[in-house]
């Protein structure tokens, strides 16, 4: 399969994730969208790695997976803490910093 297909798929996935993050209010869904964006990037990494015939892109993917796992645990912990404080996971309910 040509490289273009992979890149188009990755772009579509990334855009869906990005618009999800911007448009949705539920923090857990937003979180999932962020994961989707990360995986879109992973897909393009792997595709380029195959295309160029070297392993550097695949190593990058591993790093992203590790960081995403760490980020997921921290992010979920924050979401739980926020939920405990305001009994909601909606972003529109957490606007205490507004002047």
């Amino acid at each position: 399969m040509p490289l273009n297909y992979y890149i188009v798929l990755a772009t579509i996935l990334f855009s869906i994730g990005m618009f999800g993050v911007i448009l949705r209010k539920n923090t857990i869904v937003m979180f999932m969208c962020i994961e989707m964006m990360l995986n879109a990037v992973n897909l393009s990494f792997v595709a380029f790695s195959k295309f160029h015939g070297n392993l550097e892109g695949q190593i990058g993917v591993f790093f992203i997976m590790v960081v995403a796992a760490a980020e997921a645990s921290v992010g979920l912990a924050i979401i739980i803490s926020v939920f405990r404080a305001i009994v909601s996971v909606e972003t529109s309910d957490s606007n205490e910093l507004k002047l």
Binding site: M18, V21, I22, T91, N95, L99
Partner: protein
């Protein structure tokens, strides 16, 4: 030059002693009050000793020089920190440190009960330092540093009892009035630097001698001379800037003796003698000097007749005598000006210290109407005051006669072409002033020491610490007149005589020539020994004149109306319109712009994470877009 360099380190010693003394008197004196006076006195005496040493070793017509460092050098213009010691400097230094030492000693007794004497003695030493800087300075700029330094010390000491608001205001007046004169002096320095490219006295003098185009420069040199003289009118209390000196009597009396009689106020005379080459080129400026000097002497002398405060009488007398010095300088007879400066330093310092002794013993009473008959209780003070009064009155054989007579002689033989028409009138006015001097000084003597005591205190003779300086100064005042010829011979290498030679006069002639002064003395004795009757009749006979004189010709009022009030009005406009309107407006406007823009920008802060994220994405797209375009 080698012999000059050998004296390099030592010349700096002269002002170093009082500078150290000033610091030590303050630091140590804070803990041990009694010690501060002695520290300051020893510093003054050490300085006198080093001056005396140089005076002895100075070869005839020689110059010692001490270049400490180059202060700054811009383009071709250089200002060195140089001290120079010639015979004129030697005379000035001897007077400053000699009289200064005596007054320091006197001050220990006079300021005995003062709680903050460490401050007093520190200022007094600082004054001595500045004054020495003034007379030792080898160029106009060093002279100007000393000039400002003595002005500062004068201000500090006039306002020494600053808790009394009138005293503090007197200090401020002295400072502000002096600033006006200083502006003129500064302009003169700038002109010298701009036109001649140097401010060093020796180099300037050389330029004046060797410049063949000097005739073309006469107008500008006249301008420089007038500017210098404006500076002198401020510091040496001449018309129109003399108004600060009578008010300066708010300071402690020894300060009046040292600063406002013997030394600082004569700085203008010294400066004229030092820059004589400028004045010699400017006969028109010399005419102005002469007229101002005669006018000042006359005006101040007549005011002194009606004053009742003993220190005010002496203050106006000082203004008048400074006028006499400028008469001599204005006639080109610089050595006579210095001669009168020296004799005046002795008898006027003595008079002031005597008045201090009287004030001290009468419990700070200064009004002569509350005195009288003190001759019996204060014999030493009386005798010294008497000697100095005879000296200042100009009665031979005491010193004042010789210097004042020389001044009148110099004015009669004034070579200045501009003055040919009215020189006689000036001489006449000066002679009348000399009689007036005798009159008002004897009046103060009679009111203070003769007759019966009218006050309510219990006057007593002052302690030895105070009377010894009196005796020394009175002795100097009585013999100094005999050294006119020596002074002439000593100074003529440095200042030209312009045809004013020393004229010897036999004692019999001198006594005969004193008759006018004796007349003044007798008149005052007749009128004022019995204070009850006659003076009132005299003042009633001339009510208008009396009113004019006792109100000091309304000069303060005139200045108030024509100078102070308009300036205050102008200041009000500047304050309200310019400062409050423009400057404050700009500052407050900046604050307001920030506040308003903050008010607008805060609406971006919605608290909604979505909008922040949206902004972030927009930002990233913008950056990526930039990359793609580039």
């Amino acid at each position: 030059m080698t012999s000059h360099e050998a004296h390099q380190v030592q010349l700096g010693l002269i002002p170093l002693f009082p500078l150290l003394g000033s610091a030590l008197a303050f630091v140590i004196g804070k803990k041990n009050k009694a010690l501060s006076g002695w520290i300051a006195t020893i510093a003054a005496v050490c300085s006198f000793a080093s001056v005396f040493n140089f005076f002895r070793s100075l070869p005839e017509g020689g110059v010692f020089e001490d270049k400490l460092f180059t202060w700054f050098s811009i383009g071709g213009f250089t200002a060195d920190f140089t001290f120079r010691f010639d015979s004129l400097t030697a005379v000035m230094c001897l007077v400053v440190t000699g009289v200064g030492s005596l007054i320091h000693l006197y001050s220990i007794g006079y300021m005995n009960e003062e709680p903050s004497k460490h401050r007093y003695f520190s200022y007094l030493n600082l004054f001595l330092f500045s004054m020495l800087l003034l007379v030792l300075g080898g160029n106009l700029l060093i002279l100007f540093i000393g000039w400002e330094g003595v002005g500062l010390c004068s201000y500090l000491l006039i306002g020494f009892w600053f808790k009394n608001e009138a005293f503090a205001r007197a200090g401020r007046k002295a400072f502000v009035v002096n600033r006006i004169g200083d502006a003129g002096f500064l302009i003169a320095i700038f002109l010298c630097a701009g036109i001649f490219g140097t401010i060093d006295f020796a180099e300037l003098a050389a330029k004046f001698v060797h410049n063949t185009n000097m005739d073309l420069l006469v107008p500008i040199v006249t301008g420089i001379a007038i500017c210098l003289f404006i500076g002198a009118t401020g510091k040496s209390a001449q018309i129109p800037l003399f108004v600060w000196l009578p008010d300066a009597m708010a300071g402690p009396t020894p300060v009046s003796a040292l600063i406002h009689a013997a030394t600082m106020v004569t700085a203008g005379v010294y400066m004229m003698a030092r820059t004589h080459f400028i004045f010699d080129m400017a006969p028109y400026a010399m005419m102005i000097v002469s007229i101002v000097a005669v006018l000042t002497a006359f005006v101040a002398g007549t005011i002194a007749i009606t004053q009742n405060d003993i220190k005010k009488v002496l203050a106006y007398s000082t203004v008048s005598q400074l006028g006499f010095m400028f008469m001599a300088a204005g006639a080109g007879a610089y050595w006579i000006a210095v001669f009168h400066l020296v004799t005046h330093a002795f008898f006027k310092a003595c008079l002031f210290l005597c008045s201090g002794s009287v004030i001290h013993s009468c419990h700070h009473e200064q009004d002569m109407r509350e005195m009288g008959g003190l001759a019996k209780v204060m014999p030493i003070t009386f005798v010294t005051y008497l000697i100095s009064t005879i000296a200042i009155s100009g009665i031979a054989p005491l010193s004042g006669y010789y210097s004042k007579h020389a001044i009148l002689g110099a004015m009669e033989h004034n070579p200045n072409p501009f003055m040919a028409q009215f020189a006689e009138w000036l001489v006449l006015a000066a002679s009348i002033t000399a009689v007036i001097t005798a009159f008002y000084m004897t009046r103060s003597l009679a009111m203070t020491f003769l007759g019966t005591y009218r006050g309510h205190a219990h006057p007593h003779e002052s302690p030895l610490l105070m009377t010894i300086p009196l005796i020394v100064l009175a002795s100097l005042a009585s013999i100094a007149g005999f050294y006119g010829e020596d002074l002439y011979a000593y100074l003529h290498h440095v200042v030209p005589d312009n045809g004013h030679h020393f004229h010897h006069e036999s004692m019999a002639d001198a006594l005969v020539h004193s008759w006018t002064a004796i007349l003044g003395v007798l008149a005052a004795l007749l009128l004022y020994t019995n204070l009850k009757v006659i003076p009132q009749k005299v003042s009633q006979a001339f009510p208008l004149l009396n009113k004019l004189l006792s109100n000091k010709y309304y000069i303060d009022e005139i200045y108030n109306m024509f100078v102070v009030k308009p300036l205050e009005g102008l200041a009000g406009i500047f304050f309200n319109r310019i400062d409050r309107g423009v400057v404050d407006g700009a500052v407050n406007g900046t604050g307001m712009v920030v506040e308003i823009s903050g008010e607008v920008a805060r609406t971006v802060q919605t608290g909604q994470i979505r909008s922040y994220l949206f902004m972030m994405v927009l930002g990233m797209l913008f950056v990526i877009g930039l990359y793609i375009v580039a």
